[in-house]
Subunit: 420 residues, 2 copies
Amino acid sequence: MNTPDLYRPLTPEELGPRLSAVPVIAGRVGADPSLWTVKEVGDGNLNLVFIVEGPQGTVIVKQALPYVRLVGDSWPLPLYRAYYENHALVRQAARDPGSVPEVYHFDEAQALIVMEFLSPHKILRRKLIDGEKVAGLGAFLGRFCARTAFRGSELSLKSADKKKDVGLFAGNVEIPAITEALIFTDPYYDAKMNHHTPGLDPVVAELRGNPALKARVQRMLMKFASNTETMLHGDLHSGSIMSTETESKVIDPEFVQYGPMGFDIGMLVANFLMAYFSQPAHRDTDDLAPYQDWILSVIDEVFSSFETEFRTLWESERTGMLFPAALFEDQNQSSRDCCDDLLADIRSDALGFCGIEMHRRTLSLAHNADFEEIEDIALKCRLEARNLAMGAELILGTQAVNTTASLLDLARQFNAKDIL
Amino acid sequence: MNTPDLYRPLTPEELGPRLSAVPVIAGRVGADPSLWTVKEVGDGNLNLVFIVEGPQGTVIVKQALPYVRLVGDSWPLPLYRAYYENHALVRQAARDPGSVPEVYHFDEAQALIVMEFLSPHKILRRKLIDGEKVAGLGAFLGRFCARTAFRGSELSLKSADKKKDVGLFAGNVEIPAITEALIFTDPYYDAKMNHHTPGLDPVVAELRGNPALKARVQRMLMKFASNTETMLHGDLHSGSIMSTETESKVIDPEFVQYGPMGFDIGMLVANFLMAYFSQPAHRDTDDLAPYQDWILSVIDEVFSSFETEFRTLWESERTGMLFPAALFEDQNQSSRDCCDDLLADIRSDALGFCGIEMHRRTLSLAHNADFEEIEDIALKCRLEARNLAMGAELILGTQAVNTTASLLDLARQFNAKDIL
């Protein structure tokens, strides 16, 4: 799979001559590359991203870099992640049709994926900072999480097929290691690449001084690293979602791995909660409450659409080895309670992962624009402290959060609280 | 890995000429194969087993058959399991030196392992039926479970190494499928290959009529199938242990897979409990109580030695990414509670798996000699009913069994109970 000798990061000038030789791309963009315009627009951490425009249409070209862009070539990163990203996109497209950009071409040697250009979509995180709403957002995302979780698991897949797939993705060893360190470990000690807003020190000291909290985080890490329930997106935050006013797509599954069903939805909800807590810095007083309420309504929708869709699939597509009809329906016994119990555990896992994601985005290497764009440091600190405190509450689970209503209440409580 | 064209099941006559060409075997048995005697002694379900004796010494040759011996060639089984068994033996020998037979030679094409001949060891199940004691048995087995569980996990291994290994063993797709069906599913419906003692029908109907019990079993199946905490033996019953009066070895890890830490110890304890419940059919009244007490003392030893060894390794060998010292000891915080919590969850998982194993050995395809050799069907039925009832209790967990003492009490209660 690894062919580093052939690989080299491409320039906009090189793309035309190279890609026009691929019929499916020439067909989409136009046969004559001299009529193409190519722009490098990657602002992420790990890749080159080109917009390739021609007389016939536009495509996106994403090429993996062999190091973390944010840090430089001191942090090498294997190119084979493009191989796994391509595999992930194919599976996601099959499990939730229309939810991800269409792949037109994959070049393994160049670690390069040519795919659908989404327009006029914008990165959802940008829209949340700018106060823009997206119709149907929560329903789409909850459905995406439910369909990929269910259809990637042994509730649906044949066990031999699923196990082969676990073997395939187990080759992707470096990418999970990033998540394991940056998300689950670094926030809780003085790790080299950490940074946090001056003024947060007392809150950070409290988190690091709480061994029960760290114990729970490490158990969640153990679950993340050793649980192959389903194929995850692995990095489902608001920067991995592109939306118009009415349509959304999920992008960038290069952190794909098999993992626990609650991970994607937990990480997603964390990013909505961070958008929520950061709003006082981005909105006028008049717009603040309605937009914060809208964000909470999206979280509500995410959970309810997740559970509705999961229950529907449970009844209609339970074709895997788990909870077979032979043990329940064929013996005239309902399996509905089993589904409810599983959903309750997925939710509990999700809230644990959610709290951890809220911590690492404020304390570890990769922060969120939601908070990072706040120029008033005292305000940023106050809002981040609320976010950290709610994260700790979710990890420790001292208050039972068994319903979405209680989760949203908790968010409202912390939003009105001065932690520092 | 699969080279079925070269493979064929060998006869005793063929072994000498073939194996004498392998220097390490000629050195162990003797250079001239005409002086060897070869006997096929396999009585298991899946393999040919030869004892090869010569002037210099004796070795065991185990060759995988391409089908389940018990059922015949209507149930094909991949030969590559010998490849995984060899990998498992090598890892177990490294993680608990001296616990498994030494491997002298592995021939992948012939699915054949040449290994240490254990003598005067006998299969432990036989000894338990015959009322023989083995000194140090529980301590050895508890230590084996602790060392393989801990040293095969990300508490100890580097994550990248462990994940590569998960990928390697994920190729072993057919073997887990057997466990998944025979252990977790078949007992709870009218599966084709099931059989049980006439007279047990009311107990069986009660088990199958309890959706909460089946739900819990399916959640344990989900954990077994989607949890790669550590490398398991995968089939650790008293037929996979060979003992003298003072020494024991663990054999036959061909059901090796990554799985939850509590699986091996749970299955092991189930087999001691079945030995315990079957004793009234094998012992005179005078010998019965002392020997049953001895079996319970072995269970006690298994758990206490498991936990002692696990705690020792936690303090001295926690070199993996989980619960790193950076988060605890380096911040002057103890991680001892984390270890206790993990051990409590391993115990709880173990008791769940234990109850399920007790069921499948009475209801599914592969039964135990402990019960099968009982000729008095009414007695067999009475003893099996106790075993089934205690299994259900362990699965449902309606009585808290948080200590080994409470587990042994429960066994004594059911041993005195007439279920039917």
